[in-house]
């Protein structure tokens, strides 16, 4: 088993500086570090291997061309990249939904509603960022079932508050309250994640 690579905050800053300077090797290093997470996230949202790989490509193109838009003062590099990946994945999902509203892919995607997020298998522990993965899972597990459900529908399916309320047959105000409470708990639980450590 190879030992996981480390991506400290300093390492992220260094990578970011090199990317902004146009260092192409830095992009390769970034790929080695975060591509497994981007691919995993995209795959979880779009449920299609080819589309997920397309999203990975889109994300790295955007990162390379728009790295100047990342404000290091507002947060680390990795969450910024993950948010790009999520948005790209949801865009792909929405495009597909428009054309294939009744596809089998959606049936699979809706399994998220049931809390189909499981921690990675042990062999994935070699992937850089593994400890963060565990931390985030722990923070999610600390939420109530209802809160977890609305968070997952919002994050992985990109549903609006109203759509979540319709999906869960809950009042809109209840959904908003659950999401607000969940975000507060997650923010509190992940506040210490300023670094990405082994």
């Amino acid at each position: 088993m190879t030992s996981p690579k480390r991506l400290s905050q300093e390492h992220q800053r260094s990578l970011e500086r090199r990317l902004k300077a146009g260092d192409e090797r830095a992009l390769g290093e970034l790929f080695d570090l975060v591509a497994p997470w981007i691919l995993g996230l995209a795959l979880h949202i779009v449920h299609d291997e080819d589309e997920a790989e397309e999203v990975v490509g889109d994300v790295f193109v955007q990162v390379w061309r728009h790295i100047d838009q990342h404000d290091a003062g507002r947060g680390p590099l990795v969450p910024w990249i993950l948010s790009i990946a999520r948005n790209r994945s949801l865009d792909a999902l929405r495009r597909r939904r428009r054309w294939q509203r009744k596809s089998a892919h959606l049936d699979q995607a809706q399994q998220v509603e049931g809390g189909d997020i499981a921690p990675a298998a042990p062999h994935e522990a070699t992937v850089p960022g593994w400890p963060v993965h565990r931390e985030v899972h722990a923070a999610l597990a600390a939420l109530s079932e209802d809160q977890r459900r609305v968070v997952l529908l919002s994050y992985f399916e990109g549903l609006s508050h109203r759509e979540i309320a319709q999906r869960l047959h809950q009042p809109l105000g209840t959904v908003k309250t659950r999401l607000r409470m969940a975000h507060q708990k997650l923010t509190e639980g992940l506040r210490h994640l300023k670094d990405w450590v082994e």
Partner: protein, 201 residues
């Protein structure tokens, strides 16, 4: 902090070739828009050029049309004044040039002091010659017009009759007749070439 939720998903090791593909795509020169942009620029240029050309052409044609309209109106006016003028005399003179028989028709308007001359069937001139029309006056021959004729087709022109006298201090010239001779291309002060016709009115 919810941005970290992206790491909830199970990481997936990408296929080995994906890295090469992704990096090649990201690092590829951004030429994608240059082709379409260049095409759009060329198209814009072509459209603008076409519009400019059309504007210029329309302007030129409009100007030519206006000029032609003015000339036609002037000609109509001239012809009408000759035809309908009560003081107009019509003189038709048979002529023979280059072995051909033709005619010179003169509408002489003594009120407006103008002649309208139509020449039919005149042989075309040599390249260094021209027909020259003369007024026969009581003071001698006065040039009326030089008419180089290069094509075998009728010719019409209006000429002003000599008035003389008055302001110029010259004695009044009375037109007694008309003559036509073949002269050098630039015309002559006095008839010097073969006479086509000489006719007192």
């Amino acid at each position: 902090m919810t941005d970290w939720l992206g790491m909830l998903a199970t990481p997936r090791s990408p296929h080995p070739e994906l890295k090469g593909r992704v990096l090649a795509r990201a690092l590829a020169p951004r030429w994608r828009w240059r082709g379409p942009l260049a095409a759009a620029a060329l198209l814009t240029l072509a459209v603008a050029g076409g519009a400019w050309w059309a504007y210029r052409t329309i302007g030129t044609l409009t100007s030519e049309r206006d000029g032609l309209v003015a000339r036609v109106e002037a000609l109509e006016d001239t012809v009408a004044s000759f035809i309908h003028g009560p003081a107009t005399r019509l003189i038709q003179i048979p002529v023979s040039t280059g072995g051909r028989v033709g005619s010179v028709t003169i509408f002489a308007d003594s009120v407006r002091h103008r002649w309208l001359v139509r020449c039919d069937g005149l042989a075309p001139n040599a390249s260094d010659q021209a027909y020259q029309l003369w007024f026969i006056t009581d003071q001698g021959m006065a040039t009326a017009a030089v008419m180089p004729m290069d094509q075998d087709k009728p010719m019409v022109m209006a000429v002003e009759m000599p008035r003389g006298g008055g302001e110029g201090g010259l004695a009044e010239q009375r037109v007694l007749g008309a003559a036509m001779s073949i002269e050098p291309r630039a015309g002559s002060v006095r008839p010097s070439g073969p006479m086509v016709f000489h006719r007192l009115l």
